[in-house]
Subunit: 162 residues, 2 copies
Amino acid sequence: MQLNQETRAFIERTGLAMERLNLTRTFGRLFGLLLVADRPVSLDDVVQVLRVSKASASTNARLCEQVGLTHQVSIPGDRRDYYEMLPGSFERVLAARLSTVHEMVRLAQEGLEAVDPDNVSAQTRLEEMREFYDFAAYKMNDMLTQWKRGERRRQPRKVLKE
Amino acid sequence: MQLNQETRAFIERTGLAMERLNLTRTFGRLFGLLLVADRPVSLDDVVQVLRVSKASASTNARLCEQVGLTHQVSIPGDRRDYYEMLPGSFERVLAARLSTVHEMVRLAQEGLEAVDPDNVSAQTRLEEMREFYDFAAYKMNDMLTQWKRGERRRQPRKVLKE
DNA sequence: TGAAACTTTCAAAACATTCTGAACGTACTT
DNA sequence: AAGTACGTTCAGAATGTTTTGAAAGTTTCA
């Protein structure tokens, strides 16, 4: 696969960015490659562009599939597996996040059941936690619904402090 | 620090839950302890309850402070440092997440500048990515604002598929 | 059926992270 | 000033994760 120098640099930056999110650099580079590819990507493409072993390419490609980032594609007259990022990947990733938010709600509930009834500060904290994540889950749901409905007008750019 | 058996079990579950979110088990246990404590927690408490070295207790306690989970507390006549989880921790954690969402927007923008102008599929994908995370950032901001304003009515429970 | 073209699996190696004990620094107390 | 109580740092140990090469598995096709 032909990629210009800037594009290769972008792939590396993606690797680093994903590393910061606690994913692996290789996985992140693959994500970058999938973003910029102008056609479905084969395992050999991954090996060639990312300079990793075929084993690693295979493992990470399957991971992408698992988390809903890619779909498998086949090409007539070709036996290889191809992977492609389809529209809607981002919302699928976010939807998966929802379940971790629900887990926080559940955890808080378990805490409330475990602590002594006279431990007021813990009760208060755990209630805040439960309310917060419950609220967050609700809002995330909302957001996904709106996005899927196409209510996605681009927000006016503004400077935000980090 | 006295903790009943259930509460100790809760701390362990918190450790495991945080591990699933790519944090360390020790950090997660500390989070659990801070949630259920009925008074500010000292390093010695951490050592005693979590059975970790003082070094690890110190490192992880400082990490909690860094990410805005705890505040330092001092007690008259006591030289030790105490840590306590204050209200608003959860929103601080989420606010920190916002910056990673912004990074995704920036990354997508960089991609758009890097790929060949005739690579339409990449352009489309990267635009979707930029729009999505931009939208997400906007909605997260909204959510935080509403939460802080107290618009946090508990949502009716409903069953959601994992 | 057998060879060719692929992908997956697996044990070991490379690498990265986290924890520990010990040493050190600092600030109180007597 | 010396002793004590505390927190931090650091090198090395323990542990966990990812990648690799090699071998095995699968599918296609002649």
